[in-house]
């Protein structure tokens, strides 16, 4: 049988993969895509917990719903900021955001 542990493990591994993407990607769009994976990993954990442990209130399912909404909003703001960056730098590679340092 599938247990809650299966789902949680899946979400943990997914989170780790997403985190790896955030750390290694050299394009800000790709980094944001990896962040989306992170958010989905959290959503899976919420939904699974709700399904197994919270039959009365299933708050986790609602939480997962809200995560989807929030992820969309986050991405739209992120992309808008990227556009302003692109106007200045002509690129959205992480190389172009290394001017301020120290």
């Amino acid at each position: 049988m599938i247990t809650l542990g299966h789902y949680l493990t899946l979400s943990a591994v997914l989170f780790a993969i997403g985190l790896f993407g955030v750390l290694t990607k050299r394009n800000v769009i790709a980094v944001l895509m990896s962040v989306e994976i992170l958010l989905n990993a959290a959503a899976i954990a919420f939904a699974a917990t709700a399904a197994y442990r919270d039959p009365l209130f299933f708050s986790g399912q609602l939480f997962a719903l809200f995560i989807i909404v929030v992820a969309a909003a986050e991405l739209s703001i992120g992309f808008a900021i990227l556009l302003t960056l692109y106007r200045h730098a002509g690129s959205v590679s992480t190389d172009v955001i290394e001017e301020m340092r120290g």
Binding site: I29, M33, N40, I44, S76
Partner: protein
């Protein structure tokens, strides 16, 4: 049986995510992301929440990858230069340690899934969760206005 289904689904999800993370072609990564999210919708079906699955499909598996593709086109991003080797190794080490740490703390043995109908979710959404629901609407409005303000061209 369902364990086999889960294993296949999970394997595909992880494979999709790995493609997103490792592909040096950003368009391919975006498509893989859509694929991954689509499969996650399947996961929600298995968890007995068709409502969540549908929303996941509509927003995460369809809208977001399309948005991503748009922005990829607008910024003329094609390929992603891979990170330098040493950094990849460091990141890998961190991630493995992190995943190992998390995994050690996970593990729960419940087997019974309690399905939730869309009506159930809807009722709950508009009763106990009404306040966060309204807040989410403000959040979306903010994102919309923010995106417009930042992205629109200024006539000089």
């Amino acid at each position: 049986m369902s364990l086999v289904a889960f294993a296949i689904l999970a394997g595909l999800i992880l494979a999709g995510a790995l493609v997103v993370v490792f592909s040096s072609n950003i368009v391919r990564a975006a498509v893989a992301l859509a694929f991954t999210f689509f499969l996650i919708a399947g996961l929600y079906f298995m968890l007995g929440s068709p409502m969540l699955a549908v929303v996941q499909f509509a927003v995460n598996a369809a809208a977001i990858p399309i948005l991503t593709l748009f922005i990829i086109m607008m910024t003329r991003s094609r390929s992603v230069r891979p990170a330098s080797g040493i950094f990849v190794l460091v990141a890998l080490a961190v991630v493995i340690a992190f995943a190992g740490g998390l995994w050690a703390y996970l593990g729960a043995a419940e087997t019974q899934v309690f399905p939730v109908s869309p009506e159930g979710i809807g009722l709950r959404l508009l009763s106990v969760t009404l306040f966060p629901f309204e807040v989410a609407s403000v959040l979306l409005l903010l994102a919309m206005v923010g995106a417009i303000v930042l992205a629109r061209r200024v006539e000089e």
